[in-house]
């Protein structure tokens, strides 16, 4: 299991793309160009990218309310994503879903979810479909530390293990479920410790180390694909910004936030790539510039896209 330089650079680029995307969303939000709410994943990029890097192209994911990064890493198109956030007809959901419901069935992204834990049985069901169809696909299920206390987490992991489904559960433990600290929400040291209750492997990984995430998830994906059943991977990470649009951060200290910012997954990986000689400063700068350009293009595309028309308001309720 060696990572090619190409894959490494892809991971760097995707993390940077997510970072830029989220920061632009934040700006657009503050400029009142985005409606509703947004949950940004700044600081958690390595988890999304490392995990999805371990998948094959046809594999599926389910995402969460904090799902932009998952979508991007899975191959989501930036113009359609921005367009969706701006509520445009050209958006992934034709402006009907918004941030919490971006889905891209074509790339295997079965969708973000507004219900905490709501995607867990859905991922499990997708994996059941793969097992029945023998299509060789694996489904990766993202959820947060808060979601690990939803009943459906328990029900789903139990079933996935019983039926040896090709699914990998990736908990992005960013230490908080909205304002409630992990310790106050979860009567276990780690989410991964709960894997034993379902007779499945539980792995803890540094969620800010993209390669570590990749290797942990890759192992789980391989196991799943071989028909050996699910794994629960817990990636420890941290959310830099508020929970959603407004958040006074009363529940945590500035120091804690600063401490975690030092562990920036992108900076860390940049240094590593340079040290390992995978890329030079200049090469990475070039990637970044390219990403920034694409992001701006995508925003332009979204801004110039048409609004959905009210006549079509009921389109898509039924097939």
């Amino acid at each position: 299991m060696e990572l090619t330089a190409e894959k490494k650079l892809w991971m760097y680029k995707k993390m940077y793309e997510i970072r830029c995307f989220e920061l632009e969303v934040d700006k657009l939000f503050k400029a009142n160009m985005i409606w509703g709410t947004c949950h940004l994943s700044v600081g958690e990029e390595a988890t999304a990218v490392g995990a999805i890097a371990a998948l094959e192209e046809g594999d599926m994911i389910t995402s969460t309310h904090r799902g932009h990064g998952h979508c991007i890493a899975k191959g989501g198109k930036l113009p359609q994503m921005f367009a969706e956030l701006l509520g445009k007809e050209t958006g992934y959901c034709r402006g009907r879903g918004g941030s919490m419901h971006i889905a891209d069935i074509e790339t295997g992204n079965l969708g973000a979810n507004g219900i905490v834990g709501g995607g867990i049985p859905i991922a499990t069901g997708a994996a059941l479909a793969s097992k029945m169809k023998k299509d060789g696909k694996v489904t990766l299920c993202f959820f947060g530390d808060g979601a690990n206390n939803q009943g459906v987490f328990h029900e789903s992991l139990n079933i996935a293990s019983l039926w040896k489904l090709p699914v990998v559960y990736v908990c992005e433990n960013n230490q908080y479920g909205m304002s409630v600290a992990f310790k106050k929400s979860t009567a276990a040291e780690n989410v991964a410790d709960r894997a034993a209750a379902y007779n499945m492997p539980g792995e803890i990984v540094d969620g800010n180390d993209v390669e570590a995430v990749y290797f942990a998830v890759k192992k789980a994906v391989d196991r799943a694909r071989k028909g050996e059943g699910p794994t629960l991977v817990e990636a420890k990470t941290y959310r830099w910004l508020g929970h959603s649009k407004s958040d006074a951060n009363l529940y945590r200290t500035k120091e804690e936030i600063e401490e975690w910012k030092k562990k920036c997954p992108i900076k860390r990986y940049r240094a590593k790539l340079i040290k390992e000689g995978v890329a030079t400063e200049e090469e990475l700068d070039k990637i970044e510039k390219e990403v920034e350009r694409k992001i701006q293009e995508a925003i332009e595309y979204a801004k110039n896209s048409p609004e959905p028309s009210v006549e079509d308001i009921a389109d898509g309720v039924y097939a």
Binding site: I105, P121, A127, Y318
Partner: protein
Amino acid sequence: MAEKLYIEALREGLREELLRDEKVFLLGEDIGIYGGAFGVTKGLVQEFGEERIIDTPISEQAITGIAVGAAIAGMRPVVEIMFFDFLTLAMDQLVNQGAKIRYMFGGKAKVPMVVRAPMGCGTGAAAQHSQSFPGIFAHFPGLKVVMPSTPYDVKGLIKAAIRDDNPVLFAEHKLLYRVKGEVPDEEYVLPLGKADIKRKGKDVTIVAGSIMVIRALEAAKELEKEGIDVEVIDPRTLKPLDMKTIIDSVKKTGRVLIVEDDPVSFGWGAEIAAGIVGSEAFDYLDAPVKRLGGLDIPIPYNPNLERHAVPQVEDIVKAVKDLLR
């Protein structure tokens, strides 16, 4: 045509779809070797194997959500929830996920799944195993809701539900399982969204659903003896709801009684009543629209109390007479 029990016709419908399309599979609690709490799936695991007739843990929310996921990924799951009341445990996956996903995703996903569950009182199972609230689900956009009353209907409609590309809630009734009726030998599928006139008549319209269709037909027989000619309409699917057939009937008879099997308060009968009086039928009404349904109480255990908790044949007879007075 052969006479068959409702439960047999339903099982045949499931079996034919399992044979026709390998994407179809069943999952639920004790539906395998046990054959389901009411025996609906008896024999199917022997024929189709444990891979397609799947016994699950007691995890209603997860199995419903698993059906949602499997449906998005191309399968056609049919979930059995052992008692209708337990649907409350699976509500989120049914109404917030399954029903809304397609629209939320901009019309870019299909969720072809069926959730079957037996409703109704009359078996002494008391308050947590006896409610009938299909109307609740009809309020949530994105779902279809079916409640067949005869062997003929249940077979044709379960096949339609399985072939439909949307999530369908399929409300059976415990007391109907043992009801007999004619079922064609050749294959047929009924449309979702088409009411059925179960009996033609000219004096008064009864709109009844599920078990109440049977009771309404019995009441109609009684009333016939007294020269009252009752038309009985079975909406069959609450969603889509075929108001046209109902409105046409009311325009003809000028009087309507709606009979349902659960507390009348905030039940589906209210939607039908409101639909009638919001339509042109309003001008044809010779009497207030009457609803007859259950008392607003949890279903009691004692058989005599239980009987009084929901409409019986004699209550329907009386209500029709009141309406004609």
